[in-house]
């Protein structure tokens, strides 16, 4: 800032006056930094066809960015939520290379890899109001539970149902068409009213979480198919990466809210959420906050050492799925 006496010069005062007043006005202003980037959105959009399958009930194929077949019973709100969350998933500009094991889990470090991971495991989107048992051809109908539905992947259970019904097995009716059930990767997922009301990043992380439940790592146990038939919980939690009861001393002790084995759905969920928080430059701050909260909650759920997992002590992730029964 110029000192005042420099401005009190008799002959050039009009020019100096102009420059002094400009300087005085600008000196106290604060430049606000725009913390957001307007860079390009990463990832690829796949399967955005929006075409109908021609089924008798008029469902549609293709989410808005992820190739998922929509069942005709999905509500408009559920469809809209799925459209926006899958679009977000496909367009989030993330870099998973900063997260250990990210590329082993998702097959790459970008959003397009996460989309591929999901498309391998989630094929059909059903409404939370649909009782999927009613869709199982030759399966007895059960009473629809009157619960609020967030998101649910019954694919392993459907596959077990099909195994119980052998020989002949089962098919599942989607948009009026009978679809073969050959493995847990049939990928049927239900989305309900609670899902609809969640932030987009949380919805996207939920699909990533649920997708893991389509993996039957190492195949199924014949004894578990018998247990399933009798309505007893399966022993082999690796098939479907089923959640278990939280152990004594855990904050959710006694709740069916924990992962007992490494590389389960909660870790997939946490890894993807942290990738959003740390690397996404196209996400809003609210999306990042929701993703951070989700990651921290998900990290409460493993009943094993997360540090050992990421330090390699518990071995690398096995992202395979088998339809063998042993």
């Amino acid at each position: 800032m110029k000192p005042a006496h420099l401005c009190i010069l008799p002959f050039f005062m009009i020019f100096i006056l102009a420059s002094c007043s400009g300087g005085g006005g600008g000196g106290g202003g604060q430049r606000e930094e725009d913390g957001t980037s307007t860079g390009t959105t990463g990832g690829t959009t796949t399967g955005d066809t929006g075409s109908t399958t021609g089924g008798t009930t008029g469902g549609s194929t293709g989410g808005n960015g992820v190739d998922i077949t929509y069942d005709s019973e999905l509500t408009p709100q559920e469809k809209q939520a799925l459209d926006s969350s899958t679009k977000a998933m496909a367009t989030y500009s993330i870099d998973g290379s900063r997260i250990k094991y990210f590329s082993q889990v998702f097959g790459g470090t970008k959003s397009s890899s996460v989309v591929n991971y999901v498309e391998t495991r989630v094929n059909y989107a059903l409404s939370g109001e649909t009782n999927y048992h009613d869709r199982l051809i030759r399966a007895p109908a059960s009473i629809l539970r009157n619960l609020q539905v967030f998101a649910f992947n019954p694919s392993t259970s459907i596959w077990y149902d099909s195994k119980v019904a052998e020989p002949g097995g089962l098919k599942i009716r989607i948009n009026g068409k009978a679809v073969d059930i050959n493995s847990s990767r049939i990928g049927v997922m239900q989305f309900g009213d609670l899902y609809v009301d969640s932030p987009a990043s949380l919805q996207a992380a939920t699909i990533v979480h649920e997708a893991r439940h389509s993996d039957c790592t190492g195949g199924a146990l014949a004894s578990d198919i018998d247990r399933h038939e009798q309505g007893i919980p399966e022993e082999n939690k690796k098939c479907g990466h089923l959640h278990g009861f939280c152990p004594p001393g855990h904050i959710y002790e006694g709740q069916l809210a924990c992962d007992l084995l490494p590389w389960g759905a909660y870790i997939m969920d946490a890894m993807y959420s942290v990738a959003i928080v740390e690397t996404c430059n196209t996400c809003s701050e609210t999306d990042k906050q929701a993703a951070e909260a989700n990651a921290l909650d998900a990290l409460e759920r493993p009943a094993y050492s997360v540090e050992d997992l990421f330090n390699g002590v518990l071995g690398p992730p096995d992202m395979s799925s088998s339809s063998q029964v042993r």
Binding site: G24, V274, L296
Partner: protein
């Protein structure tokens, strides 16, 4: 008195007026530089009025927080109680606890403001400190608060000391959860 005299007097008056005007402007600028900021109010709703007044006077707004007390109150009221979170998990074990999601959603716009303005950062850090050190708040929410103070301190390096102070004040179980999170980073 002829026309030349009149013109001379007129010119002197004009020059005198300009000198006076210039002197006052410079004096005001120096005052702005040396005086403390016009207000250090942090959370009151009156800040809105102060902002408006400053806007009218075209004075700098650098020292005023745009986060209102009602926004802070809303955030504080949404601190997820650990008992409530447990109840939510009992009701729906598979879902991210609703109160945690609401809390995070309330936080987003305030964090945006805090990144841009150091007074907003100051206001928010106070609330985040209370959140992080309250044993009745769910652990995941307390960890989120610690993490957010770290993020703010990255944007406003002068607040780094407060982030360090907070880490020494929070319980080890919160830091343990953050260590779990950090263990996945390369």
């Amino acid at each position: 008195m002829n026309r030349r005299h009149i013109l001379g007097i007129f010119t002197l008056l004009l020059l005198g007026g300009l000198f006076l005007n210039l002197y006052e402007r410079e004096a005001m600028t120096i005052e702005e530089q040396t005086e403390p900021p016009p207000t250090i109010v942090t959370t009151a709703d009156e800040k809105m009025d102060i902002n408006k007044t400053l806007e009218k006077k075209k004075m700098p707004t650098r020292s005023v927080s745009s986060i209102t007390s009602s926004e802070i109150r809303k955030l504080r009221n949404s601190f997820p109680d650990k008992g409530d979170v447990r109840t939510e998990v009992e009701r729906n074990p598979h879902r991210t606890p609703e109160s945690l999601v609401i809390f995070a959603t309330n936080m987003g716009p305030l964090m945006e403001k805090a990144y841009k303005n150091d007074k907003d950062a100051d206001v928010l850090i106070k609330a985040l400190h209370d959140c992080a050190t309250d044993d009745n708040v769910a652990r995941s929410a307390r960890a989120l608060c610690v993490k957010n103070v770290d993020k703010i301190a990255k944007t406003h390096p002068q607040m780094k000391g407060r982030a360090e102070e907070l880490r020494s004040d929070v319980s080890p179980e919160v830091l343990k959860l953050l260590e779990k999170r950090n263990s996945m980073m390369r």
